[in-house]
């Protein structure tokens, strides 16, 4: 019987305590950030959409290899050393990126691709507003070389490679010659020594 009254009292009391709390909060300041007009602070290292600086990318494929999801696809072409402008940070460019594509529908935004990049070409940004009505729009192509350009590069490369080949052959020949000479010289020297 005592319990009955105690329970009743507790019921009324705790309800009143709760009502007091909610009433206080009813008149307290709200914390809402009204999104399209106001912005919630985003730290600069937030991992949202990736951004690739094509001027910095050397197509080393490290990001693609580090990606657990395989959402980065890169196609590259060997660059001609003399004709190729260097990367933005002054490093030598070894490869032309002909096609660099990230599928943000697959990406898991883990940031693993940015860590191995030697030139900081690929970076996370704070940009997150890119919802679309078509899934294809989520595939971002950062570098796409036109066919002519590609062809030109290929031709250059072919010429360069041919040259290289020739050069190499010549070099090899020269080397072989030199070696042969050296050999004969050595032979002669030994002879002389004898």
């Amino acid at each position: 019987m005592l319990n009955y009254f105690k329970n009743m009292w507790l019921g009324v009391y705790t309800v009143l305590v709760g009502l007091r709390l909610t009433l206080i909060h009813l008149f307290s300041r709200n914390v809402t950030v009204q999104y399209p007009d106001e912005r919630y602070p985003i730290p600069p290292n937030a991992r949202n959409r990736l951004y690739l600086d094509p001027e910095l990318c050397d197509a080393c494929l490290r990001c693609a290899k580090a990606c657990p999801v395989n959402c980065i696809s890169i196609e590259s072409l060997r660059a001609v050393p003399g004709l190729t402008p260097p990367l933005k940070n002054g490093d030598k460019r070894n490869l032309w990126v002909t096609h660099y594509e990230i599928d943000f529908a697959k990406c898991c935004f883990c940031g693993l691709c940015t860590e191995p990049c030697p030139t900081n070409a690929i970076n996370t940004t704070t940009e997150f507003e890119y919802s679309t009505t078509k899934r294809e729009d989520l595939i971002y192509t950062f570098v796409k070389m036109s066919d002519e350009e590609k062809k030109e590069k290929e031709e250059q490369l072919a010429i360069y490679q041919a040259e290289q080949k020739k050069k190499k052959a010549a070099e090899a020949e020269a080397k072989a010659k030199a070696e042969a000479e050296a050999k004969t010289k050595a032979v002669n020297e030994t002879k002389n020594d004898n």
Binding site: V15, G18, T22, L23, H25, T32, Q34
Partner: protein, 349 residues
């Protein structure tokens, strides 16, 4: 006392009757819109949010948008459902809820149907809605709906009894079942309200604890009858998906919605008429002109609505057996105690 100002203004009885019917209907719609918005906004403020902000000025047009949307929604009748009953239920429920407005005096000069047994009538017509509810729940052919409906009915039926005792006590105290008369009895300052024992000699303070208790009992019962937290078990989202209206969509769902809000207003109005002086100003003759009386009445009713919303965002939900325990073992005995005390007071007076 003239019952209807409309009858004085308009000669033709047919048009007058039509207007008298239409006024509560328009009121219900407007009131429901305001209540919906209030519910969203108060919930948001309690939770330190803002609520609807992007529809009209500070989101005030939100309920209108919802009605426009609900008008266009597809009206699905599930294949497995019992079609005639499924389609009938929302109308029955709305009709029942709306029928209650016939005897609600918004002011001494507006009482749609001036029958002597107004209080009794409101109470009886409420049970019609129960049938609509169980009809909808059954016809949906969905276990959640049926469970929700059966819980609802059990809940409403058992909480009708404490509510009836509270009403009966006030009827004893006032000696009338006519809501206008009951309201008129409480004119004057707010200590003439029945929650404070009604008009009477100084020793009425002896009865004040009991009338306060009756007010509390009636308040709790009305919460249960309108399925509001902490008694929202029939619609308890976490257990049975959305209660008896799980399968309803579009306009039929809107009918349920409006019926619910109309019901809420009716119980609020009864609470105000019985315990809080009805359309009387709380401050004697101050602002007690004929045009202020409906305003007072509606303001008081809205206070009840605010209270229920406030409670809703504060309390968790009871369990079914605890609900029954509360009705039969807490409210009913205390109701009897209060009833006897009030009767004694009336006899001695």
């Amino acid at each position: 006392m003239e019952q209807n100002f409309v009858n004085m203004l308009i000669e033709n009885p047919w048009i007058a009757a039509l207007i008298i019917v239409v006024i509560p209907l328009v009121f219900v719609v407007i009131y429901a819109l305001i209540a919906i918005l209030g519910e969203l906004k108060i919930a948001s403020f309690v939770q330190e949010r803002l609520g609807p902000m992007r529809t009209g000025w500070k989101g005030t047009m939100q309920p209108v948008a919802e009605v426009v949307k609900l008008l266009q929604k597809e009206d699905i009748t599930p294949d497995a459902a019992d079609k005639p009953l499924f389609n009938l239920a929302p109308f029955l429920m709305f009709a029942a809820a709306f029928a209650g407005f016939a005897v609600i005096p918004f002011s001494p000069y507006f009482l749609p149907a001036g029958i002597e047994l107004g209080l009794f009538y409101v109470f009886a017509i409420g049970s019609l809605g129960v049938i609509g509810l169980v009809m909808g729940g059954w016809a949906s052919n969905n276990k959640y709906s049926l469970l929700g409906a059966m819980r609802s009915v059990a809940q409403i039926v058992s909480y009708e009894i404490p509510a009836a005792i509270a009403i009966l006590s006030i009827a004893t105290l006032s000696g009338s079942l006519n809501l206008n008369v009951i309201s008129d009895n409480q004119s004057g300052w707010f200590w003439n309200w029945y929650i404070f024992g009604g008009p009477g000699p100084w020793w009425k303070i002896l009865v004040i604890p009991f009338t306060l208790g009756l007010g509390l009992i009636y308040l709790i019962s009305t919460l249960a009858e309108t399925n509001r937290t902490p008694f929202d078990i029939p619609e308890g989202e976490s257990e049975i998906v959305a209660g008896y209206h799980t399968e309803y969509s579009g306009m039929k769902f809107a009918m349920f919605f409006f019926a619910e809000y109309a019901n809420m207003f009716i119980v609020a109005a009864i609470l105000m008429l019985l315990f809080f002086g009805g359309w009387n100003s709380p401050f004697g003759d101050f602002l007690n002109q004929w045009w202020m009386q409906p305003v007072w009445f509606i303001l008081k009713a809205f206070f009840w609505v605010f209270l229920t919303i406030w409670l809703r965002w504060t309390l968790p939900r009871l369990r079914v057996d605890q609900l029954m325990y509360m009705s039969w073992k807490v409210l009913l005995p205390w109701g009897f105690v209060c009833f006897f005390a009030v009767s004694l007071f009336v006899m001695l007076k």
